[in-house]
């Protein structure tokens, strides 16, 4: 086993996030995608026929759909050079003790904070394509909350999955949702019964660990009437030289009066294409909050969406993106007012350095007759140097007059004066810049669970190192 002593933890970005373990893979499909591979995946998982059919139908859609010409540059993805399914071990560990040492070492090196270990009973951690450890805290089980990996969800709660799967993000939504629908593996299935308030965040760790391996996790969250859940997804990925594709789908259903918060901090390595479709349907008086942080990847295209289906529904999207050299973060959000008297907010903060590129891309749609809707969009960009770039694409499709739509956008640079002010108090240049950046994203960082806010700040500090000069 290629296990290194943990002493080199934290010595630098590559050591901390760029390692990879070797040799736990039990099965690896061949590279490329065709209907036989899709059938094999489904068969290996002993899936019901309807899911096999769903996958095969999705594959046809994927093959038919053109590659999007907007957003980022997708021309370099070689779909034949990707593994679409990797399975690390035969069975899931039901307890922490069952999890193989090597994988524990991986989590050690990811630096999952001690504070979170006490929540381990509620942690679903994904290693490669499949969840290797997934357990439920006992009181969650007593409350009737289901928190499983998606494959397990399908096995154990087929009726619920069948009712909702693909109803929020249909395979035909876009090329990558079609791809995910064909080859999905892993991800989480969360079901919160009516009136249940889940008081610890449900967390999952994702990690791509096989060269040229695509990761296609699929998450489905159903919050019944009056319930509450906070789901947290964090990713780090090892560094590889060839391109990797990560294409997830997240579907969330927020029923009457329920509230769901979904937090992501993605830090994929700088060769990953991160093309994710995240969408919620929010029903009467329900609230959906997306907190979406994008630091890693070569290209991210991700626009968490809220479809506000009934009066009183609220959608809030907080998006923060950091693009360094060679990165393009095309992120934002969508609010679709499909019912009158619904409310939406999109706040986006982006930071670019060393020719990195960020784009805010957002859509606010208000259908005719949807009176009394309110939406506020705010996007701020911070450029750390002259070579960096930021663009704004705020699409507004407003087909009703009796609404309130506001939009603000700012672009700023770290000013010499601001830097001099901090430095005149004894603060070194690197720290002063990091401070300005941390301050810039503070409105979003303060919405994160504490460990994630700390992690976000630490990642930004790592990103900021070497940006002086």
């Amino acid at each position: 086993m290629a296990v290194t002593t943990p002493q080199d933890l934290g010595t630098g970005y590559d050591v901390k996030y760029g390692f990879h373990d070797e040799g736990t893979h039990v099965f690896k499909a061949e590279k490329g995608i065709n209907s036989q591979i899709v059938r094999d995946i489904s068969e290996m998982k002993h899936e019901p026929q309807w899911m096999t059919d769903f996958r095969l139908k999705s594959l046809k859609i994927f093959e038919r759909k053109p590659i999007p010409q907007w957003g980022g540059d997708l021309s370099e993805i070689d779909y034949d050079d990707i593994y679409y399914y990797v399975r690390p071990m035969e069975n899931q560990g039901r307890t922490w003790e069952d999890v193989p040492e090597q994988i524990k070492t991986t989590f050690d090196r990811l630096g999952i904070p001690e504070a979170e270990r006490k929540f381990l009973a509620g942690v679903g951690a994904q290693y490669d394509s499949e969840v290797v450890y997934h357990s439920l805290r006992e009181d969650l089980e007593k409350q009737g909350v289901i928190f499983l990996d998606m494959d397990g969800g399908l096995r154990e709660h087929e009726d619920i999955v069948r009712e909702y799967f693909g109803t929020v993000v249909p395979p035909a939504d876009n090329k990558f949702s079609a791809l995910n629908s064909a080859v999905w593996s892993g991800g989480s299935f969360v079901y919160v019964p009516a009136g249940v308030h889940v008081d610890i965040p449900l967390q999952a760790y994702f990690r791509i660990n096989s060269e040229n391996m695509g990761q296609f996790e699929r998450t489905l969250i159903i919050a019944e009437e009056g319930s509450y859940v906070h789901y947290v997804e964090g990713c780090t990925a090892p560094t590889y030289t060839t391109n990797s594709l990560h294409s997830a789908v997240v579907e969330i259903i927020v029923k009457r009066g329920a509230r769901v918060r979904y937090t992501t901090i993605q830090n994929w390595s700088k060769n990953v294409y991160n093309l994710v479709t995240k969408r919620t349907k929010v029903f009467a008086d329900g609230t959906m909050e997306w907190v979406d942080g994008n630091l890693g990847s070569k290209l991210t295209m991700k626009y968490p969406s809220c479809y506000l289906m009934e009066p009183g529904a609220k959608g809030e999207i907080l998006s923060v993106a950091f693009a360094g050299s060679g990165q393009h973060q095309d992120a934002g959000g969508k609010i679709v007012h499909a019912a009158p008297h619904t409310t939406g907010t999109i706040s986006s903060k982006s930071i670019s350095k060393e020719a990195g590129r960020t784009s805010y891309r957002g859509l606010v749609k208000i259908y005719p007759g949807m009176v009394g809707c309110k939406t506020h969009v705010n996007c701020d960009a911070l450029l750390l140097d002259e070579d960096s770039r930021s663009d704004t694409y705020p699409f507004m499709e407003i087909e009703e007059d009796d609404v309130a739509v506001t939009h603000e956008a700012t672009v700023s640079k770290i000013g010499e004066e601001q830097l001099f002010y901090l430095m005149s108090r004894g603060i070194g240049e690197t720290e002063a810049r990091a401070m300005i950046v941390r301050g810039f994203i503070e409105p979003i960082a303060k919405e994160l669970p504490m460990e994630y806010a700390i992690e976000l700040n630490r990642l930004i500090e790592l990103e900021m190192e070497g940006s002086v000069g």
């Binding site: 010499e416 601001q418 001099f420 603060i427 300005i436 301050g439 994203i441």
Partner: protein, 275 residues
């Protein structure tokens, strides 16, 4: 606070070489010339500030006072084309602003900048610990106590500590916050650039009291102001008149009164004659 002019001269008793460093002038500006782009703004200034002294610099708008202040603190925008700035006997030409702050230099800005998302407490904790250095970091409890004490000194509400630095502060609050920072950092040299402007009468007294409480035998102060009023509260030992990038007159507190009465006209004439 009375200061005997004897204090402003090095003691005759110094004879050991080793003492020279320790007893050198706190701040010595020698024939300083400063350019903004290609335009000369500061045109040859000589000035010595010793420990325990308060120097006031007065002069018309645009005469280069803030340029001098920023240059002393090491603002990269201003180019020193000739002359030297010695702090504690050491030429600071190659030091960045943070290094100068670590030596004990401080500038209270005429126009303090805001840093959105960074709280006063967080900013000051970082600043205090940077100045103290990694070995001498202040324990959090001690920091909080010190911050509360200094907030009280400047009659600032505790809630100010949680506000983002200068963001949405009123003009007067910004000036108070500058002196709060000075009180927290306890510099050896404080350059105050028009700290009195924008303060109402009560606030002026509070700020002046705050500054006075920081004065002592180890602190040197360079006070840039337009108004005699501040000098009623903070008594200067020396007053300098700066016109067109030069100090054209120096004297005691009476010089400020003369200026208040007669304005700069006479000095501007003298400056023209001198060229």
């Amino acid at each position: 606070m009375s200061r005997d002019s004897i204090d402003s001269f090095p003691s005759q008793a110094i004879s050991h070489e080793e003492c020279v460093g320790a007893m050198s002038n706190l701040l010595e500006i020698r024939d300083l010339h400063v350019n903004i782009e290609d335009r000369e703004i500061v045109k040859g200034i000589d000035l010595v500030v010793n420990r325990g002294e308060v120097h006031a610099v007065m002069g018309p708008n645009g005469s280069g006072k803030s340029t001098l202040a920023s240059t002393l603190m090491g603002h990269p925008f201003y180019t020193v084309t000739r002359g030297q700035v010695l702090f504690d006997g050491k030429d600071v030409a190659d030091l960045s602003a943070d290094e100068r702050a670590k030596l004990g230099m401080f500038l209270a800005f005429q126009y303090p900048h805001s840093v959105p998302g960074v709280t006063v407490a967080n900013f000051l904790r970082t600043a205090v610990n940077s100045v103290l250095g990694p070995e001498n970091k202040m324990p959090p409890a001690q920091f909080r106590a010190l911050l509360r004490e200094k907030l009280a000194l400047l009659k600032m509400d505790d809630s100010m500590a949680g506000r983002y630095i200068n963001e949405g502060f009123s003009g007067g609050e910004k000036k108070r916050a500058e002196i709060l920072q000075m009180a927290m950092l306890q510099p050896k040299l404080a350059v105050m650039d028009e700290t009195d402007s924008g303060l109402d009468i009560d606030a002026l007294r509070v700020v002046a009291d705050g500054v006075n409480s920081l004065l002592g035998p180890d602190l040197g102060v360079l006070l840039i102001t337009h108004y005699q009023r501040l000098l009623n509260y903070i008594k200067p030992d020396f007053v300098h008149v700066m016109v067109d990038g030069r100090i054209v007159a120096s004297g005691g507190p009476e010089l400020a009164q003369e200026l208040e009465r007669d304005g700069y006209a006479g000095f501007i004439e003298k400056a023209l004659v001198a060229v």
